[in-house]
């Protein structure tokens, strides 16, 4: 918890420092932080802080109710810390090979969190997660290899030929065919981690079966780390091959993800799976935004990443509260939350509205930016299709969550002994919602400059 706060403070300081300074780099490019990494670091560190705060209450309640042993709780916090630090480290390296190593290591650490409950269902989810993601990331490694090969004509040392800023600076003299293959493999490989359809199949299982704060980490931090890797590859590919090929690929995967996410959200059932499919949808939206391109599209993609991360963290933390009280993850088993458990109910209601892109919240602004980018950059048909899918998503998602928060239901027993744990649950939800609201009404000047600087670094 303290570690998370320190890392958040460090990330904010780093981002603030990065805005006006050249990229920080050391150890032959193995350490490299520019504004783009700074922006993603801020997102991941923020989510980690919220999830770490939520973990304290969640885990103490699980331990009190005897569902977790003391050993499992210790395991949870060890792997949680490992997972968070590996993700932060993967954002801080400029070496694409090391990026693979750290992303794969974070997969393993988070798989341990998914399988922590040790029951058949969670082990099944963890197995599916670790085998699909490992295969995916290995494909990304093959892509990295082809990128390395594409640069074999450059006069750089072998370390530099894998280091992002050097590759980006020399992008014009990369060999085009291996680069094309490299981008394809990287999008498929890291896209598996991002949860782009059709490589998303591990995602709903892992999100549904992990302890809720860990689900928040998966959805709001891990997926973004994968997206960060794709953006790095995108920048190099755009510089050499032009925008058509990468944009068509990202639009294809993006629209497939939005479609799959929306279709599965129509089904009413496990509410954590609902949130997970919503993550698939939102990652699709970010990919579409990258595919629209231009300043607006990239700006929207980054802003949406931040907004979605906060909203999803709030939703999963709130859902952890609900599933602990009602001992079910089925939406049909929960009703009348707003009267029975006002805090969780309110968070779930506001979080749902936020994640669906309702006006006062940040996601409205970022989705609007993305749609505007679509109208400006490509034909009007694509953004219209996107809007249509978002409307379906709104109805499907709200139908389930409104059913949970309204109506009259029996008040469940309070699983928290003592006020401290209770406050540990309320504070992260409140902080997340306030941040979302603030981002919807006003984008801080510092954040605006940071995003604009990140765009300059990749265009």
């Amino acid at each position: 918890m303290a570690g998370a706060l320190v890392s958040l403070a460090a990330a904010i300081a780093l981002l603030a420092a990065q805005v006006h300074h050249p990229p920080l780099s050391g150890w032959a490019g193995f350490l490299y932080v520019d504004t783009l990494s700074g922006f993603f670091l801020l997102t991941v560190a923020g989510v980690t802080t919220l999830a770490a705060a939520g973990s304290v209450g969640y885990l103490s309640a699980e331990e009190d109710s005897g569902r977790f042993t003391a050993f499992q709780v210790r395991l949870y916090f060890s792997f949680f810390g490992l997972f968070a630090s590996l993700m932060l480290a993967s954002l801080e390296t400029g070496n694409l090979g090391l990026l693979f190593v750290l992303v794969e290591a974070s997969t393993l650490a988070s798989a341990a969190l998914v399988g922590l409950e040790g029951k058949a269902r969670s082990l099944e989810a963890a197995w599916k997660y670790v085998i699909i993601s490992s295969l995916g990331v290995t494909i990304a490694l093959a892509g990295t290899l082809f990128l390395f090969y594409a640069g074999s004509a450059l006069h750089l040392t072998s370390d530099q030929r894998l280091t992002w800023p050097y590759l980006f600076a020399h992008a014009a003299s990369l060999a085009p065919q291996p680069l094309r293959l490299a981008f394809l493999l990287a999008v498929v490989g890291y896209g598996t981690k991002v949860g782009l359809a059709p490589m998303h199949t591990w995602l709903p299982d892992a999100h549904a079966e992990a302890p809720s704060p860990a689900s928040a980490m998966l959805s709001a931090a891990l997926l973004n780390t994968g997206m960060y890797a794709i953006i790095r590859f995108l920048a190099i590919t755009q510089a050499r091959l032009g925008t058509t090929f990468p944009h068509v690929m990202l639009l294809t995967f993006g629209f497939a993800s939005v479609l799959i996410g929306v279709l599965f959200m129509v089904r009413r059932g496990n509410f954590k799976r609902l949130f997970a499919y919503s993550s698939v949808e939102h990652m699709g939206i970010i990919a579409v935004a990258l595919g629209f391109g231009g300043v607006l599209g990239l700006y929207g993609a980054l802003l949406h990443t931040l907004n979605h991360a906060i909203a999803k963290a709030v939703l999963f933390l709130g859902s952890g509260d609900v599933s602990q009280r009602y001992r079910t993850r089925e939406a049909a088993g929960v009703s009348g939350l707003l009267t029975a458990v006002p805090v969780a109910g309110g968070a779930l209601l506001l979080g749902s509205l936020a994640v669906l892109g309702s006006p006062p919240f940040g996601l409205f602004l970022s989705e609007l930016t993305i749609v505007r980018a679509g109208f400006a950059q490509v034909s009007p048909a694509l953004p219209l299709v996107l809007l249509g899918l978002l409307a379906v998503a709104f109805v499907a998602f709200a139908r389930t969550t409104l059913g949970m928060v309204t109506g009259a239901g029996p008040a469940p027993p309070d699983p928290y002994q003592g006020r401290a744990a209770h406050w540990g649950r309320v504070v992260p939800l409140a902080v997340g919602l306030v941040a979302l609201l603030a981002l919807g009404l006003w984008i801080p000047a510092g954040l605006n400059t940071a995003i604009m600087h990140s765009l300059a670094a990749i265009r």
Binding site: V101, E104, A111, E124, I131, F148
Partner: protein, 224 residues
């Protein structure tokens, strides 16, 4: 940039190891016994360490010698031994009954994938003269064959072996195609694989404890 012509003795040896690795991947695809999967994987890793040794000898690289030794010790001996001891013997696994297609069908599909690998990585599409050019399509084919093994096999142990074959394919590319791949990255990849196998062994034993049959075909609880 150091060059390795396909006609030199080292180039021929590398090509030969690449072909052997591909053949062993096919052998694994055409087998039905868990024991064989592990044996073929072990043999493939030994050939891989030999290839790494050849590359190390050609480039006079200490780091590649270390990698060759690590490959031999961990992939050639360690992982097969651990899989045999901890999974096959303890869970009394013998015949793999959870294969979704017939063996001949998967072999034909494997042949098609190999042809495809040659199609997309034709030597003339790649920058010239870096390494023995035959290795690129070979390692791509091994990657595809490993992925195919993961798709047609439903048993968790078989999927684990399939992933390891994919990894070997990538490594073949990394060692020979780009002999100068940074050492720290290769070492990190090694660490990942070792940790990955360890955690997968835990999951497989856990799944077997919870379900009578550790076949991914039985993993039907989570859908939709």
């Amino acid at each position: 940039m150091e060059k390795l012509a396909a006609t030199s003795a080292a180039g021929v040896l590398l090509d030969l190891s690449g072909v052997l690795i591909l053949l062993l991947a096919f052998a694994c695809l055409g087998s039905k016994l868990f024991n064989r999967y592990v044996a073929y994987y072990g043999a493939q890793s030994v050939v891989l360490s030999f290839a790494a040794g050849v590359a190390a000898w050609t480039f006079h690289s200490v780091e590649l010698w270390i990698l060759a030794a690590l490959t031999f010790a961990i992939k050639g001996i360690g992982i097969p031994l651990a899989t045999r001891r901890l999974l096959l013997r303890r869970l009394a696994l013998a015949r793999d009954t959870a294969i979704s297609t017939g063996l001949s069908t998967s072999l034909i599909a494997g042949g098609a994938l190999t042809a495809f690998a040659y199609l997309v990585t034709r030597p003339q599409l790649l920058p010239h003269g870096v390494v023995a050019a035959a290795v690129v399509p070979l390692s791509t084919a091994v990657i595809l064959l490993g992925a195919l093994a993961m798709v047609v096999r439903r048993h968790t142990v078989a999927q684990l072996i399939g992933w390891l074959i994919v990894e070997n394919g990538v490594f073949l590319g990394a060692i020979t195609l780009v002999a100068t791949f940074p050492f720290i990255v290769e070492a990190g990849i090694f660490l990942d694989i070792a940790a990955g196998v360890l955690i997968m062994l835990v999951f497989v034993s856990g799944i077997t404890r919870e379900l009578a049959e550790a076949s991914a075909a039985e993993l039907r609880g989570l859908r939709g």
